[in-house]
């Protein structure tokens, strides 16, 4: 195999090499030739002179045909590693050939060969995510040049599961020919030719390899989702395409607004594969609904009572709402089954933070009728907008759409990024309706009026780049060597104010100097797959003699919530949390949890320990994993891993001071009223989140997260001393830049105190 890669243009040599294990001479494989040989074998034989049936011999890069690939796919040996193909492979192959994309394989190849950038449109379920990269492999033959094909996914879970699926389809081991790479996890090897990866990972790779030289073809999948990383990648690839004429780019989108992509990529050719869709009847409510959740539940039950067989998909906004709805639907449905002889109803939740094995449950078939000949059973999936484009659940016939989703928004004026429930767009509503027509004609029940649909919904969902804090993005772009952020050709450039905020934040964090150039700290910070504030905190932690602890804390802050607080056992959960509580704040409490988790007691049976202490084992384990990855980067960057002696009275103080080094821009001071806090510089009135363990009356707090609701909260807080702010972040806390007010007066007083102390110290020396 290794030789083969280095000599791509020598079919003769190849034939000789593969010849000595020619499967045709293998009696155990003879049946393959009889089974498959009649149609394809003869054609193949004709082309190759009958000398060999294996592999990709006779394939010329960018000149292959669908028929050729078909032959190679029919084995008997795996064309990519020459291992005999398993029966399972042929089972899957049969279903693969039924996918809508397969009919257009030749058309795809023709276009792919003729153009550098291709826009491909195929609805979810057309098979594009799994098949197109394989089509590309057979034509691009990346292993002949020692290159790879990359296929990006917006979601980590998708990258993992699709890679697994494609590895099965190609009959290879995951991590060998087919692998995946997501943040903090790389499952690829030297043999890898097809790599599924998150779009963020490809962007990180581009930071070190501006021309993406490892790849011969890059496929951006789910481009319609317009994630931040995909948008940046598109801007980048547009430039790379000019520098690397040999690089092929395929943009894949599931929605029909693909003309926008076409225009953006200088009128690139477009290939559309019709999805397998059936008509969907759409219903609106005649009047607006006062309570969309209640209306949604009623609609689901109504469908269950009155509509013929078919599963239901209900879109709600978040975990809590979904779990609550699931509970209520189950209760009501049980009653219906008992009293009105309705069929059994099984309810499944679906949201991003749900563990994967529970996410898989949504694919279970609907329950059978309770008795023979009784009313049919039904499945209800209550999900977030994950179910909108990226996941296809077969059997859905009814869609209930209240018209809301949780969306990230960023307000650069108060520097707050938060998830807010907002009305969806028209495009989104259409996509949701389309989910009902996957298996047969379906119905979509919209819980708003037709007038509201026309008037109140925006056309397209705003892409993520317009709704995000761009500090991290700017750091990445600078590392990518893109300095002209004004004219960088993005599909939807962000608002100037948002970009200005990002530049200023990076300047305060000393990642950019006053000229806007990347500093040494900035370069180092960009190595970490973290927010700049977290990265800076981690990098400066050795100065505070607590890099081990800050490393753990950074990992903990990068994973979902470690504390579990089920509605049924809130009190018990709070009691358990109190065991770990540190009086100075939540970050230190989290650290205590982690230390306890790593203790011998917990490790003995971590599952039991977590359950007893109301902690999320999954979150802690992934924090552990993240910690190891970050540790590796720290070691590579030659950052010392040190700790203060636990018995030193400064052990926790050092950690708190190190926190300030990263989060000095997220500080709030108690108001004179003594009830609310005011954020520094942005003057937002906030309350401490009820979940905090902070008990001491601290004047100054540092927070990790600003929760935007009608009442504003800061979550995950630690008490700090104002002296530290002046000491650690003197440019940000330059008192002359502050507005007149309580905070300025307080800082002035602190400053005076510090000065006096220094003066009294000096004569003594």
């Amino acid at each position: 195999m290794a030789d083969r890669r280095s000599e791509p243009e020598m079919p003769q040599a190849k034939r000789l090499r593969t010849g000595d294990m020619d499967p045709a001479s293998n009696p155990y494989l003879a049946h393959h030739y009889e089974d498959e040989g009649n149609g394809y074998g003869s054609r193949n034989g004709g082309r190759n002179g009958g000398s060999t049936q294996t592999g990709l011999s006779g394939f010329k890069r960018h000149q292959t045909t669908a028929a050729q690939a078909d032959v190679a796919e029919n084995g008997p040996l795996n064309p990519f590693n020459n291992n005999p193909l398993s029966p399972r492979y042929f089972d899957i192959l049969k279903t693969r050939k039924d996918l809508p994309v397969h009919k257009q394989r030749q058309e795809f190849l023709n276009m792919f060969q003729q153009t550098q950038i291709l826009v491909f449109v195929g609805e979810t379920g057309s098979g594009k995510t799994t098949q197109i990269p394989q089509f590309v492999l057979f034509d691009d033959l990346p292993h002949f040049n020692g290159k790879l094909v990359a296929c990006t996914q917006p979601r980590r879970v998708a990258a993992m599961s699709v890679a697994q699926r494609v590895a099965n389809e190609m009959d290879v081991k995951l991590g060998e020919e087919v692998g995946y790479s997501i943040r903090f996890e790389d499952v690829t090897g030297p043999k890898t030719i097809l790599k599924y990866m998150t779009d963020g990972m490809l962007l990180r790779e581009a930071m070190h390899d501006h021309n993406l030289t490892r790849y011969s073809c890059i496929i951006l999948d789910e481009a319609h989702e317009r994630t931040l990383a995909t948008d940046i990648l598109m801007g980048l690839l547009k430039e790379v395409a000019l520098r690397r004429p040999d690089l092929k780019i395929v943009i894949m989108s599931a929605t029909l607004d693909a003309q926008k992509f076409q225009r953006y990529f200088n009128d690139a050719p477009l290939l559309a594969v019709p999805g397998r869709t059936h008509p969907v009847e759409i219903f609106y409510t005649p009047e607006p609904e006062r309570d969309y959740v209640e209306a949604a539940l009623r609609t689901v039950l109504q469908i269950h009572a009155n509509e013929p067989e078919g599963d239901i998909l209900l879109f709600l906004t978040g975990e809590e709402e979904i779990e609550d709805a699931c509970r209520k639907i189950t209760l009501e449905a049980d009653e219906m089954t008992r009293e009105a002889d309705a069929g059994p109803l099984k309810v499944y939740p679906l949201y991003g933070t749900l563990p994967p094995h529970q996410q898989q449950k949504i694919f279970e078939p609907a329950p059978p009728p309770t008795r023979k000949g009784g009313p049919p059973g039904r499945k209800v999936v209550v999900g977030t907008n994950i179910a909108e484009t990226s996941l296809t659940i077969d059997g859905i016939v009814y869609v209930v759409d209240p018209g809301f989703s949780k969306q990230k928004v960023y307000n650069p004026r108060i520097r707050v990024e938060s998830l807010l429930v907002s009305p969806i767009s028209k495009a989104s509503a259409q996509q949701r309706a389309g989910r009902a027509g996957r298996t047969r004609p379906g119905k979509c029940f919209r819980l708003y009026t037709e007038a509201a649909f026309k008037k109140e919904l925006i056309e397209q969902t705003h892409p993520e780049i317009l709704r995000s804090n761009l500090a991290n993005t700017v750091l990445e772009l600078k590392k990518l060597g893109i300095d002209d952020l004004v004219h960088f050709d993005l599909m939807d450039p962000p608002a100037p104010e948002t970009l200005m905020r990002a530049l200023e934040e990076l300047n305060y964090l000393a990642c950019l100097d006053d000229d806007g150039d990347l500093t040494a700290l900035g370069k180092l910070a960009s190595e970490f797959p973290l927010d700049p504030a977290l990265a800076v905190m981690l990098i400066s932690s050795p100065e505070f003699y607590c890099s081990n602890e800050i490393l753990s804390l950074t990992a903990l802050l990068s994973v979902p919530q470690v504390f579990v607080r089920p509605a049924s056992a809130k009190k018990r959960a709070d009691e358990m949390k109190a065991l770990f509580a540190h009086p100075d704040g939540d970050q230190l409490t989290m650290l205590n949890v982690y230390h306890a988790f790593k203790g011998a007691d917990a490790q003995a049976d971590s599952k039991k320990w977590c359950r007893e202490h109301f902690l999320s084992l999954r979150a802690l384990q992934s924090a552990d994993n993240v910690r190891q990855q970050l540790k590796r980067i720290m070691e590579k960057s030659e950052l010392d891993l040190i700790s203060t002696d636990f018995n030193d009275k400064n052990y926790y103080t050092n950690i708190r001071r190190a926190l300030v080094a990263g989060f000095f821009m997220q500080v709030a001071k108690k108001d004179s009223s003594g009830k609310t806090y005011k954020t520094v510089k942005d003057d937002q009135s906030v309350l401490l989140h009820p979940s905090t363990v902070l008990q001491v009356d601290s004047e100054w707090v540092l927070y990790n997260e600003f929760v935007l609701t009608t009442k504003n909260y800061v979550r995950t807080v630690t008490s700090i001393k104002p002296e530290w702010l002046l000491d650690i972040a003197p440019t940000y806390y330059d008192i002359s830049t502050f507005k007149k007010g309580e905070i300025r007066t307080a800082l002035e007083r602190v400053n005076d105190k510090v000065k006096r102390k220094q003066q009294t110290k000096r004569p003594g020396r």
Partner: protein, 248 residues
């Protein structure tokens, strides 16, 4: 009426918009429909053309036809003003370069109006097409400068790459980006899309009507009763009086 009064009493829609005059290549005028010398074009607008206009008016005084013609096509002034009024009639309707509207229509209606209202001096004042709302909207205006603090470091960076905060352009290859961050507001209720809550003032009104207590209702009832009684009394009395008079 003096000329000074004139300039101060120009109706708002006829006045030149601030900042809009810069782009105007040439000031066009429509001849006055009245012979009152006081209504002639204001002194500030005198040009060779208006002088020739004045001359034409003196030469062709109080021609009954001329007013009609002007009513039909006063704005159809071709570029040369030295043409006779008769020549103006077949002229093709001139289309304004800026707003793509025929210059005629607006003025025609205006002058016919003046005819109806017996030409008071102010209304009969020439009404240039440029002063029409449609035209003004189409003009490129100068805008107030952006609110962005000029001392911001982020702005310095963007400016160094050629972005001008006052250009009213966004970022991107051709400045096509959005100008302002997307606005949002938090939603804490479960209200569906399209639910319109009555606004604060309406709600307060409702509260007011609900505040009547028994005593007030009684009082209102009594005043109502008194009113109707008085009315009835008036009716009957009148009837009686009429009867009485009729009888007498």
């Amino acid at each position: 009426m003096s000329d000074e009064d004139d300039t101060y009493e120009i109706p708002l829609q006829d006045q030149r918009v601030f900042g809009a005059g810069i782009k105007r290549k040439r000031v066009k005028f429509v001849p006055s429909t009245s012979n009152d010398p006081a209504t002639r074009t204001p002194a500030s607008n005198t040009s060779a053309k208006s002088v020739s206009d004045l001359y034409l008016k003196l030469v062709l005084p109080s021609d009954p036809l001329s007013t009609d013609e002007k009513a039909v096509s006063p704005g159809q002034e071709p570029d040369g003003w030295a043409v006779t009024l008769k020549d103006k009639k077949p002229a093709i309707p001139q289309v304004c370069e800026i707003c793509n509207l025929p210059v005629l229509s607006d003025n025609a209606s205006k002058s016919s109006n003046t005819d109806l209202t017996d030409s008071p001096p102010l209304d009969s004042k020439p009404h240039p097409h440029e002063a029409s709302l449609a035209h003004q909207v189409c003009l490129t205006h100068s805008y107030p400068p952006s609110h962005i603090d000029r001392n911001r470091k982020g702005l310095a960076y963007l400016s160094s790459y050629g972005w001008d905060p006052d250009s009213r352009l966004g970022l991107g290859a051709s400045g096509q980006g959005i100008q302002f961050p997307i606005k949002t507001k938090p939603k804490d209720d479960k209200m569906g899309i399209g639910v319109v809550l009555p606004n604060e003032s309406e709600r307060r009104k409702k509260v007011k009507t609900e505040k009547y207590d028994a005593g007030m209702v009684k009082k209102m009832y009594e005043t109502d009763k008194r009113k109707t009684e008085r009315l009835r009394e008036m009716f009957y009395r009148n009837d009686d009086v009429e009867k009485y008079l009729g009888g007498g």
